[in-house]
């Protein structure tokens, strides 16, 4: 009965924690980070070079998810690889199927909950603490964020490892669907609040006959230009399948035209 040592698991986790995106390219985003994280696991489980090669081949498939919550998947595959080495009926294809199936849902949770919710909240607190130029807010963010992620990622990795393939049932069952849906709901609400709090698109256009367009718009729905911009970008990307880069290009054009006709005027001066 083969069992991964604590040392190997530590090495695997550290490789992922540090190296998940270091060799990023648009073609293979986190693939190499994943290969590095699985290497110690594979080397300990298989003695023969041929078996190692075969096992590593599994992890050459494209991988990309929210890397922090993704440590759960790395832990799971370490557990499954161990089960496979012990002769259980799991093969590389099964592992890859699970990896591919979890990438999307986990990215959704991680991006909305960690990047879209946790980071803006922590930064918001930090900005408040640093308003007068004190380093306290920055230090608060550095300490709290890194502690949360270090222990959170380690917890996810260990949980994934101890559950192995069983984690899939927990992650995709009916109850999991309900949990995921509800978690995404919190994320979506906070993302809405983030958009309203921190996106600040205003117009400088005066109305003919006095008054400002901005005041009129605020009377209809506060910050409606910010909400409109988000929904417009979403519509272009989700419904028209325009790439984010192209959307940004379009925004540059919109900004330029807007400045020319006086719709946008940030009111800057040296």
């Amino acid at each position: 009965m083969k069992k991964l040592s604590k040392k190997t698991l530590n090495k695997s986790f550290l490789s992922w924690f540090y190296g998940n995106l270091t060799c990023f390219s648009q073609e293979h985003m986190q693939t190499f980070g994943y290969l590095c994280a699985m290497l110690p696991v594979v080397e300990e489980l298989y003695d023969k070079k041929e078996d190692q090669k075969k096992a590593m081949q599994t992890y050459t498939a494209f991988f990309n998810t929210e890397p922090q919550i993704g440590s759960l998947v790395v832990g799971m595959t370490a557990g499954m690889e161990e089960a496979k080495a012990n002769g259980q009926p799991i093969d590389g294809d099964a592992i890859n199927g699970i990896r591919a199936g979890l990438m999307g849902p986990l990215a959704g949770i991680g991006d909305s909950l960690i990047v879209g919710t946790l980071i803006p909240i922590l930064l918001g607190i930090g900005l408040g603490l640093s308003a007068d130029g004190s380093p306290l807010g920055a230090i608060f963010y550095i300490v709290v964020w890194n502690l949360l992620m270090w222990f959170g990622m380690r917890f996810a990795f260990d949980k994934g490892y101890s559950l192995g393939g069983k984690a899939v049932e927990i992650l995709v069952g009916e109850q999991a669907q309900a949990v995921r849906d509800s978690i995404l709901m919190i994320g979506t609400v906070v993302i809405g609040a983030v958009a309203a709090s921190w996106i600040n698109i205003t117009t400088a256009l005066p109305l003919p006959g006095g008054g400002a367009l901005q005041a009129t718009l605020d009377g209809i729905f506060p910050k409606m230009l910010s909400a409109g911009a988000v929904i417009f970008c979403w519509w272009l990307m989700a419904k028209k399948n325009i790439s984010p880069t192209a959307v940004m290009g379009l925004l540059v054009v919109i900004a330029f035209v807007g400045v020319l006709i006086g719709f946008f005027d940030p009111g800057l001066s040296y």
């Binding site: 909305s112 130029g133 979506t188 979403w234 940030p266």
Partner: protein, 279 residues
Amino acid sequence: MEISMFQAILLGLCACLSSMPGLGGTTFGNYTLGRPLVAGLIVGIILGDIRSGIIIGAAIQVIYIALVTPGGTVSADVRAVSYIGIPLAICAVNSLGLDPATSQAQSMAAALGAAVGTLGTVLFYGTATMNLIWQHIGWKAVEEGNFHRLYMVDMGLPWISHLVCSFLPTVVITMAGAGMVDLMKAYMPMDGIAMKTLFTVGSLLPAVGVAILLKQVVKKSLDFLTFLFGFTLAACLGLNLIASAIIGSFFAVINYKVMMCMNKKPAAAAVDDDDEEDI
């Protein structure tokens, strides 16, 4: 205000560590060192003016707090914003003799940060493209069974990409610091079209980041209502993010219970059918 060679090298190193596929790792590099609030502290320490660093970093952080980079799409480059934009902004504020706490200094810092961040996306695509070379070496190593070379490919060789796309641009631009600021002032006056456009782009870009997030969480059009619910909480009721998160959690619990009831229902119906058959 001049930035010395030594200071510029330190800034260049921070740029290597902090960028989106950065060498500080995702958690400590991109999401810690790459945040303008944190970078403000670090640049402040390097330049010996912590107060200016923090105030200017915070002013730039405000534009980019909703900046997210899911799916490897970058709408503004954090290394450029943080380690080119902030030092330049400090230089500019100093050379004009402004107090960084004034709103004039902060809006100028924000404009400079947004301009540099937008132009800096070139650095992101440069790094990612150059990493393709190392990945190619990596595939060969996998084929040959030279697995230990993978560490080199994932954690060593990308330093070369960063030397070219992070370190050098940062050192050159920040060393030219004061000169750069004068140049920008001369050719891109704040009330000119170019600077106004760049600033406006900077204020529009977070909308792309939020929209990319939305694309992931909005599965049906009804989900939009959830987003607008949160938006309304903050925009109309003025609630902050923690308050919004609590209200969101409350509705999420209700949602969970409703969904679990719906899950149970078909099973219950099936049991009823059985009973009738028995009778």
